[in-house]
C-alpha cells in the first residue's frame, strides 16, 4: 500500500528574545528559538537528558586492583565528603554533590558478539541485544537508544544531537545512538559542523535570511513533490523506510536567532582541529557548550556525547599529571600492558593512570554540569535541575571487559523526580540489576509516556523484566 505523505503545516512561531537578540518584525520567519542563549537568560522548563560515554571501563576495584572510582560509602553525598576522597574519581564532582546520583550495581543484560567494546557500546543506551550479523567489532544494537526515544516522543521535529570527541578509528567508531535496530546514527566530531547546523544562518542580515528562506521554501516544495512521487510507487519496506526518512528530513529554514556562542568562543570553535589528540579535552568542552546551548534554546531535548572511539585509544595528556607527559594509549592502559591484546610489557602505574583519566573525564562531565547550571530555567532554577545528564561507560572494568557494575553517574533531578545527592548500590547485597530499569526510570522522569499515558516500564529488549530502579526515584517525585 502506498503512502502519501502530507506536508506539515508550519506551526512554529517566531519567538525572539534574550540577550543579543533583536525583536524583529518578521512574523513569517520560522525559528525554533524560544529563549535567549546567554547564561542567565530565560530557558525552557522542558526536561531533557544528555548521555556522555567514556570508554574502556573505569578504575574500580576488581582484578586484584584497589578502588579508585566510587566513594567509600553509599549514602548521602556532600561536597566536603566527596572532596575529602581525592583518591576516588568521583571526588571531581564534589561541587555538585547535592545534584549527583551515583548508581552502582547495574549491568548490561546481554553478551557481546565477538567484541567486548562493541557489545558494550551497543547496549549502553539501548538495553537491546547485540546483532548476530554483523558481528565482532561490526556488531550493532538490535533496538532503539534512549536518546532517540526521548527525541522521538518529546521533540519529534528533530533528531537527537549526536556528538563525538576525537578521531574515528576504522575499527570501532561511534556506538551510542540508534534510530532503531541496526540503524546506528553517526556522531559529529567537529563542533563547528554541529554548531553550524544549529545556528548557521543566525549571524546573517535579516534581509538575507528572509531571501534564503523564501528560496528554500520554493526548492523544498519542488523536492517534496518529487519525493512524494517516489513514495507513491512500489517500494520495498527498506526503500520506503529510507525514503520516508529522507522526506521527513527536508526542513524549511531553521534560524536559531539569539542562540549563539560568545564571539570569542565561536572563533575558537571555528579554528580548532577536532582530530588532534591534544585538543581532546578542549573539543569536549566545546561539545559541552553546544549541548548546553542547544538545550537552552529548545533545539533538542536529547543528546549524546561519545568520548573517544568504541575502544578509545587516545593518548591523553593531563595537565599537572606526570609533568604533562603524553600517556600511553588509553585502551592499552585499560589492559595495563603495552598491547591491545592480553600479552605485552606492563605499563607501570597503569591503574593509577586509568584513575587519572577517569578523573579527567569526570572534570569534563563537571564542565557540562557547569554549562547547564549557568542557564536559568523560567522556573528560576538552574537548567541542570530541569533535566538530567549521565556519565556512563561501555564496560565496568577494562581488564575483564565485564558488563557488570557499569557506572551510571547522573546530575540533575528532572524537576525533582530523581533522588539526587546520594551514592547508591542498587544490588543491595543481591544481584546486579539490568540497566533497562534505569532507562525506564529516566524516561519516565523526563516525561516520556507509553501510548496509554502510563510511565515507561518496558524500554529495551522485550525479554527483560520491566520496572524501575526505586532507589533512583525521589520520595516526593511529582511524576511517579
Amino acid at each position: 500500500m502506498s503512502k502519501k505523505t502530507k506536508k506539515k503545516p508550519i506551526t512554529r512561531r517566531l519567538f525572539l528574545r534574550g540577550a543579543g537578540t533583536v525583536a524583529l518584525g518578521l512574523p513569517f520567519l520560522e525559528t525554533f528559538s524560544r529563549f535567549g542563549s546567554r547564561a542567565g537568560a530565560q530557558t525552557p522548563t522542558d526536561s531533557f537528558a544528555v548521555w556522555v560515554r567514556q570508554g574502556n571501563g573505569v578504575a574500580q576495584a576488581g582484578n586484584s586492583e584497589p578502588e579508585r572510582y566510587w566513594p567509600r560509602a553509599t549514602g548521602p553525598l556532600t561536597t566536603a565528603g566527596l572532596a575529602a576522597e581525592s583518591d576516588r574519581a568521583l571526588s571531581e564532582l564534589a561541587p555538585y554533590a547535592d545534584k549527583i546520583l551515583a548508581v552502582a550495581g547495574l549491568r548490561f543484560a546481554f553478551p557481546g558478539n565477538g567484541c567486548g567494546h562493541s557489545g558494550g557500546g551497543n547496549q549502553c543506551l539501548t538495553a537491546a541485544r547485540v546483532s548476530e550479523t554483523p558481528s565482532g567489532n561490526e556488531s550493532l544494537a538490535m533496538g532503539e537508544s534512549v536518546d532517540n526515544r526521548i527525541a522521538r516522543e518529546l521533540h519529534p521535529e528533530r533528531e537527537p544531537l549526536t556528538l563525538f570527541t576525537g578521531r574515528k578509528s576504522g575499527y570501532l567508531p561511534e556506538v551510542m545512538s540508534y534510530r532503531g535496530p541496526l540503524d546506528l546514527r553517526a556522531g559529529e566530531n567537529d563542533p563547528w559542523n554541529a554548531y553550524m547546523r544549529m545556528t548557521g544562518l543566525a549571524g546573517m542580515d535579516v534581509e538575507v535570511i528572509n531571501r534564503i528562506r523564501e528560496r528554500r521554501l520554493s526548492v523544498n516544495d519542488l523536492v517534496r513533490d518529487q519525493m512524494s512521487d517516489l513514495l507513491s510507487g512500489d517500494l520495498s519496506t527498506d526503500d520506503r523506510r529510507r525514503l520516508d526518512l529522507h522526506f521527513s528530513s527536508i526542513r524549511d529554514l531553521e534560524v536559531l536567532m539569539g542562540c549563539n556562542l560568545p564571539d570569542m568562543l565561536e572563533m575558537e570553535v571555528d579554528g580548532i582541529d577536532p582530530l588532534s589528540e591534544g585538543n581532546y579535552q578542549r573539543v569536549t568542552e566545546m561539545h559541552n557548550e553546544i549541548i548546553a546551548l542547544a538545550i537552552s534554546c529548545g533545539y533538542v531535548r536529547s543528546a549524546t556525547l561519545q568520548l573517544g572511539n568504541g575502544n578509545d585509544g587516545t593518548q591523553h595528556t593531563i595537565p599537572g599529571y606526570r609533568g604533562g607527559a603524553q600517556l600511553p594509549r588509553f585502551h592499552q592502559i585499560s589492559h595495563r600492558i603495552y598491547s591491545d591484546g592480553s600479552e605485552g610489557d606492563p605499563i607501570e602505574g597503569a591503574q593509577e593512570m586509568h584513575g587519572e583519566i577517569d578523573k579527567m573525564h569526570l572534570r569534563l562531565f563537571r564542565h557540562l554540569i557547569d554549562r547547564l547550571s549557568a542557564y536559568v530555567a523560567d522556573t528560576g532554577e538552574p537548567l541542570i535541575d530541569r533535566g538530567v545528564v549521565c556519565m556512563t561507560n561501555d564496560l565496568g572494568h577494562g581488564i575483564s571487559h565485564t558488563y557488570n557494575n557499569v557506572p551510571f553517574i547522573f546530575a540533575g533531578s528532572c524537576g525533582g523526580n530523581l533522588d539526587v545527592g546520594k551514592y547508591v548500590d542498587v544490588r543491595g547485597g543481591g544481584s546486579y540489576v539490568t540497566h533497562n530499569k534505569m532507562f525506564n526510570t529516566i524516561l519516565s522522569a523526563v516525561g516520556v509516556r507509553k501510548a496509554d499515558g502510563s510511565l515507561v516500564d518496558d524500554f529495551g529488549d522485550s525479554s527483560l523484566e520491566g520496572g524501575f530502579v526505586p532507589e533512583m526515584i525521589a520520595a516526593d517525585a511529582p511524576d511517579f
Binding site: 567486548g116 559529529e188 526548492v219 519496506t237 575502544n311 592480553s342 600479552e343
Partner: protein, 554 residues
C-alpha cells in the same frame, strides 16, 4: 568504514580462543530460493547466478557525490563539499560505499542543501564555469531557460528527462529574480535550477526501479545500466560516450556493455577506483601509524607510499592480478627503507623499484608496511586474522570474552600456542586458521627485517592451512604466499571483495556462480584486475536486480 583493524584489537576478544566452526557454507540448493547458494550442490554455472535483491534507489556515496559534481560541472577537481557532511554509518563490507546503509538523515539533508547552494553560488561567481554551463543556449527567454533546464537536468539526473521533469524547474526559475535580486536574470535562473537539481532525489539516488518479471527480476534499461556501469568503474556519472551508447540502446544488446566497460577501464577515473580498492581492502592508511625506533618520524608514510607504488606497478602498469600482488619479489625502497630489506646501494628520498631476495620476499604481505602495522607479541594473531578475513575470506566465528590466561613459552609462537594451539580451547579457529597464517611471518622482526631467531631460538615458520581444496603445508612467508596465490580461496576472496566494492553491496548467495567462474579463471589464466572487473560487469548479476522482500504495490 568499519573494518578489522589489528592495532586496535578488540582487546581480549580477538586474541583469545574462538569456538565454533570455520566457514559457514550453505548445504542445500533450491533454484527458486534466492537465499541459497546455487553452487552449494557442487555444480557452478555462471548462468545460474541470480541477481541480488537490492534497493530501487541506491544513494550516492559521499565519494560518488563529489565525483559527480566534478564531472557534472566539468571541474578539474572534486569540490570537496562533502568534507563536512555527516558521515555515513558503516556497512558490512570492508568498504565505505555499502549502499544498503546509505540514507538521507536530517543532518545530511541540511548538508546537501548547503552544498547545493554553494554550487549555485560558485556558478554565479565563476564566469568561466557559467559560460561552460550555458554555452550554445538560445539567446532569448523563455527558450533559453527551457533549454538549460533540459540539458542540465538530463546530465544531473543521468537519464532522459520528460516535460514533467523539466517543467517544475522552469517554473522555479521564473522566481529567480526575487531570490537573486543582485544577479543578472539569466544567471539567477541558472543558479536556481542548479541548486534545486542538486537537492533532487533524482540526483542523489540512482534510479533502478522498473517492472519485474514473473521471477521477480527487474532488467535494467540502457540508462540504468549506464549509471550502474559508470558508478561501478568510475564512482561517477556517465560521460558523453556512455550517454550516447545508452541512448542508442547499445548497452542492452550484444557486447555493448562489455565494450563500454573495456573503454572505461582505460580511463584515469578507473585507475583511481582501482587504487582506492586496494587502499581500502589492504588498509594501507593504517601503515601511516607505523613508528620505527631509529627511523624518520614519517616512516609510516613511506611504507604506505611503497605499498601504493607496488600496487600501481603490478595492477595498473603491468596489468597484473593477485598472483603478482601476493608473490612478486620486488618492491620500492628509498634511503630510509632500503635497510629494512637489507638492500645495498645508494638511494635518495624517492622510491625506486628494486628486486628483492626471492627466498625472503614475495608480494604485499612481506613488505615492512604490513609486518610493522601488525606488530607486537600478538602479531601472528593479528596478521593471521587479517589475511584470513581479507585475503582468504575465511568466516571466523566470534570469539568468547573471558579473562586472559597466562602465556607460557620462550618464543612468541610457543607463547601463543600455549593458549590457542592444539589442545587448548582455541584449537578450532586459532590452531586451524589464524595461527597457521600468522606463524610464517615470524621470519620477520617487528620492523619487517628478516630474522632467523626469536629469543635465541630458531624460528619455526612452518604451518599447514586447510584451503578449500585441501590442506597445504608451507614453511615461511614466501611459501605461504605461493600457496595463497595458488589457492582458489584467495582468487575467490579477491573477486568477492571486488564485487562488494564495485557493486556497493554485500555479497549475496546468488553471486556465487559468477564469483566462482572468475576465481577459477583468475587462477588458471592470471586474470588482470581489469579482466576481473569486466567479468563482473558482463554478467546477469549486473544487468538485473531482484525485487527486495515486500516490494509492495498500490
Amino acid at each position: 568504514m568499519l573494518r578489522f583493524h589489528t592495532t586496535l584489537l578488540a582487546a581480549l576478544a580477538t586474541l583469545l580462543a574462538c569456538e565454533g566452526t570455520i566457514g559457514a557454507p550453505p548445504t542445500t540448493t533450491d533454484p527458486d530460493d534466492p537465499t541459497v547458494d546455487p553452487c552449494a550442490d557442487g555444480v557452478c554455472d555462471p548462468d545460474d547466478a541470480f541477481p541480488a535483491a537490492t534497493s530501487a534507489y541506491p544513494r550516492l556515496s559521499h565519494g560518488q557525490y563529489e565525483n559527480t559534481l566534478r564531472d557534472l560541472f566539468g571541474l578539474a577537481d572534486a569540490p570537496g563539499l562533502s568534507a563536512s557532511f555527516e558521515s555515513d554509518p558503516s556497512g558490512t563490507t570492508a568498504f565505505d560505499n555499502d549502499s544498503t546503509v546509505l540514507q538521507v538523515t536530517p543532518n545530511l539533508w541540511a548538508d546537501y542543501q548547503g552544498a547545493a547552494e554553494a554550487m549555485a553560488d560558485m556558478v554565479l561567481a565563476d564566469a568561466e564555469l557559467y559560460g561552460r554551463l550555458t554555452d550554445g543556449l538560445p539567446g532569448t527567454e523563455p527558450e533559453r531557460t527551457q533549454a538549460f533546464a533540459e540539458r542540465f537536468l538530463r546530465r544531473a539526473f543521468r537519464r532522459p528527462v520528460t516535460a514533467d521533469d523539466v517543467q517544475p524547474f522552469v517554473m522555479l526559475a521564473t522566481q529567480a529574480g526575487t531570490h537573486y535580486p543582485d544577479a543578472p536574470n539569466d544567471a539567477a535562473r541558472v543558479a536556481m535550477i542548479v541548486q534545486a537539481a542538486l537537492q533532487s532525489p533524482h540526483f542523489l539516488y540512482r534510479d533502478e526501479s522498473g517492472e519485474a518479471d514473473d521471477d521477480g527480476l527487474v532488467a535494467l534499461n540502457d540508462h540504468q545500466l549506464a549509471n550502474r556501469l559508470s558508478y561501478t568503474l568510475w564512482d561517477s556519472m556517465p560521460d558523453a560516450e556512455l550517454f550516447r551508447a545508452a541512448e542508442a540502446g547499445e548497452l542492452t544488446e550484444g557486447d555493448g556493455l562489455r565494450t563500454q566497460a573495456a573503454r572505461m577501464l582505460d580511463d584515469a577515473k578507473a585507475a583511481t577506483k582501482i587504487r582506492s580498492f586496494h587502499h581500502k581492502l589492504f588498509d594501507l592508511a593504517h601503515y601511516e601509524d607505523v613508528e620505527l625506533e631509529g627511523f624518520p618520524a614519517d616512516i609510516g608514510h613511506t611504507l604506505r607510499a611503497e605499498a601504493e607504488a607496488f600496487v600501481d606497478d603490478v595492477v595498473l602498469e603491468n596489468d597484473g592480478g593477485i598472483r603478482e600482488l601476493y608473490t612478486a619479489p620486488y618492491s620500492y625502497v628509498n634511503e630510509d627503507t632500503a635497510a629494512l630489506y637489507g638492500v645495498e646501494g645508494s638511494f635518495g628520498p624517492e622510491l625506486e623499484r628494486v628486486d628483492l631476495d626471492p627466498s625472503q620476499r614475495a608480494g604485499l604481505f612481506t613488505q615492512p608496511g604490513f609486518i610493522a602495522s601488525h606488530d607486537g607479541d600478538t602479531a601472528p594473531i593479528h596478521r593471521g586474522i587479517f589475511i584470513n578475513l581479507y585475503v582468504l575470506c575465511t568466516t571466523l566465528p566470534a570469539p568468547p570474552v573471558f579473562d586472559p590466561p597466562t602465556l607460557v613459552g620462550e618464543t612468541r609462537r610457543e607463547r601463543i600456542d600455549s593458549i590457542t594451539g592444539p589442545g587448548t580451547c582455541g584449537a578450532t579457529c586459532h590452531a586451524e586458521a589464524i595461527n597457521p597464517i600468522g606463524y610464517p611471518f615470524e621470519t620477520f622482526d617487528d620492523f619487517g627485517r628478516w630474522r632467523t631467531e626469536d629469543n635465541g631460538l630458531p624460528i619455526n615458520a612452518a604451518a599447514s592451512f586447510s584451503f578449500e581444496e585441501g590442506p597445504v603445508g608451507f614453511d615461511g612467508p614466501v611459501a605461504l604466499a605461493e600457496a595463497m596465490a595458488e589457492s582458489l580461496d584467495a582468487h575467490r576472496c579477491y573477486a568477492q571483495n571486488w564485487l562488494e566494492y564495485s557493486f556497493g553491496r554485500p555479497l549475496q548467495p546468488g553471486d556465487s556462480p559468477v564469483i566462482d567462474h572468475i576465481a577459477r579463471s583468475s587462477r588458471s589464466d592470471d586474470l588482470s584486475v581489469k579482466e576481473i572487473l569486466v567479468g563482473l560487469v558482463d554478467s546477469n548479476l549486473f544487468r538485473n536486480r531482484r525485487l527486495q522482500p515486500e516490494e509492495d504495490s498500490e
